[in-house]
């Protein structure tokens, strides 16, 4: 673990929703080009945590985020950071697939267009094709790029959202329960995709599926009541965790 490059470093992160504290002194290091899984019971703060990484909590008025979050050594949790640039670098995929009510093509082309990544139609075509290929969706949709994205199956929609995320060349991809609405085959396709994507991107995934965390990640963090109780190699967490609460949670003894 020690020789790996740290992509995201969180120090003493505290998050409040109004008077209620949601995260307590989170110290966490996310390695570059690895998959980091965050697990823990509902309400433990794992989603709150990843929403800090691209400043999604900014849109919640009562939410206050204190502490340091550095990506490539640069502080992102301060006022003068351009959140649009940040979100270009740190993309996000949500629990429920949420394609734009536009064509498959435009779902992908939207980001590159507004970020000025393509000079002409050819460039844009190439980005759309390569993004869909990277998201392992190209073969399934290449003949119907002008049809609405919402007409795809749930699993395809989720891969479309991943393609949309990678179309603007992010460095980090945050995934909040990306497979919870998908069947096992669609889930397997996303997991296969995650394996492939980690060669290029740093991935942080929140999941309620223990076995999914075990399958896709190299490091796993266990959140409980707003604290991170254990952060370890995934193998270690699922074979022989250090913390008793981690063990109780992953073996189904919690409560």
């Amino acid at each position: 673990m020690k020789n790996e490059k740290i992509k995201i470093s969180t120090k003493n992160l505290n998050v409040f929703y109004g008077p209620k504290q949601a995260l307590f002194d989170i110290n966490l290091e996310v390695e570059e080009k690895k998959v980091t899984a965050l697990i823990g019971p509902s309400g433990c703060g794992k989603s709150t945590y990843i929403r800090c990484l691209n400043r999604m909590n900014d849109v919640i008025d009562i939410c206050k985020v204190e502490g340091s979050i550095k990506i490539d050594g640069q502080e992102i949790n301060k006022k003068d950071v351009d959140v649009n640039l940040l979100r270009e670098k740190v993309g996000m995929v949500f629990q429920k697939p949420n394609p734009f009510p536009k064509s498959i093509y435009d779902n992908i082309a939207y980001g590159p267009r507004i970020h000025g990544l393509a000079d002409n139609k050819d460039d844009l075509d190439k980005i759309v094709e390569s993004s869909l290929k990277k998201a392992a969706l190209w073969e399934e949709v290449k003949d119907r790029l002008n049809q609405p994205g919402t007409g795809l199956s749930g699993g395809q929609q989720q891969r479309l959202c991943i393609a949309r995320t990678i179309s603007i060349n992010p460095e980090v991809i945050l995934m909040d329960e990306p497979c919870s609405a998908l069947d096992p085959i669609a889930t397997a396709k996303i997991e296969e995709l995650i394996d492939e994507l980690k060669k290029t991107y740093t991935i942080v995934i929140v999941t309620h599926s223990m076995s999914q965390a075990a399958r896709v990640s190299q490091n796993t963090g266990f959140f409980h009541l707003g604290k991170i109780l254990e952060f370890n190699l995934t193998e270690k967490i699922f074979k022989n965790p250090d913390n008793k609460l981690t063990q109780d949670y992953i073996t189904g003894r919690f409560g």
Binding site: M210, A214, F238, N240, Q247, I250, T251, G252, F254, G255
Partner: protein
């Protein structure tokens, strides 16, 4: 350790544990009986031992099935996974112990010399020592007591000492008593069987330790 939220899962794990203990108890008695049969030349008991070996094989198959079911249907994690996997390995060690006990019993009718005397006290004390270790091994599994497992593991060197003495002793008998060389050869094999039962017992201790602590016993096994 608190119980699982899903009680049928808890029951499945407990059932596996109790099947392993049942198999362990049967192997323990097979071994003890094989030594009684040997010392008393009790051929009726020999037949009983040989007849019971099938039951050991059945229990091993049952444990394998329970383990595969648990992995398939429950996907155990952490200590549950370690216990499940260890159960399968302990069962295969027990099966070997059962075979060795049966092998001791099968040799009984070929032994034409009196063993219930001072000259052959070592074979009795060696088997008592190993029986005692096997009992403690099974206790450590039954009570999830990794310290007990570790202490049995460490005491295997005493078994080695006694077995080495016994082997030397049997060789001395062979030199003096050439007409009984066939019986004594069988006794040599029996001594090796007793030693190997001790080895399987310490292997089980390693699995008990692994499943409770999540790590192997450190270092090489102490050898005499």
């Amino acid at each position: 350790m608190s119980e699982h939220i899903v009680s049928s899962y808890e029951e499945q794990l407990k059932k596996l544990h109790s099947t392993v203990l049942k198999m362990g108890a049967l192997c323990e008695s097979q071994f003890a009986n094989s030594i009684i049969a040997l010392v008393k030349k009790d051929e009726e008991l020999v037949d009983k031992i040989i007849g019971k070996d099938d039951r050991i094989d059945e229990l091993e198959k049952k444990i394998d099935e329970q383990v595969v079911n648990l992995i398939t249907l429950r996907q155990p994690m952490a200590i549950d996974l370690r216990e499940t996997v260890s159960a399968m390995r302990i069962a295969s060690e027990l099966e070997r112990i059962g075979d060795l006990a049966k092998n001791i019993a099968k040799r009984v009718k070929n032994i034409k010399i009196e063993l219930n005397n001072e000259d052959f006290s070592l074979i009795r004390s060696a088997s008592e020592l190993v029986q005692n270790n096997l009992k403690k091994t099974l206790d450590s599994y039954s009570k999830n007591d990794e310290k007990l497992a570790l202490s049995v593991w460490n005491s295997d060197k005493e078994v080695d000492v006694v077995i080495n003495k016994l082997l030397q002793d049997l060789l001395n008998h062979m030199k003096k008593d050439k007409k009984n060389i066939e019986s004594l050869t069988h006794l040599l094999f029996i001594a090796k069987n007793i030693e190997r039962i001790g080895d399987h017992s310490t292997n089980i201790c390693e699995y008990v330790h692994y499943f409770i602590k999540g790590e192997d016993i450190k270092g090489d096994r102490p050898k005499a």
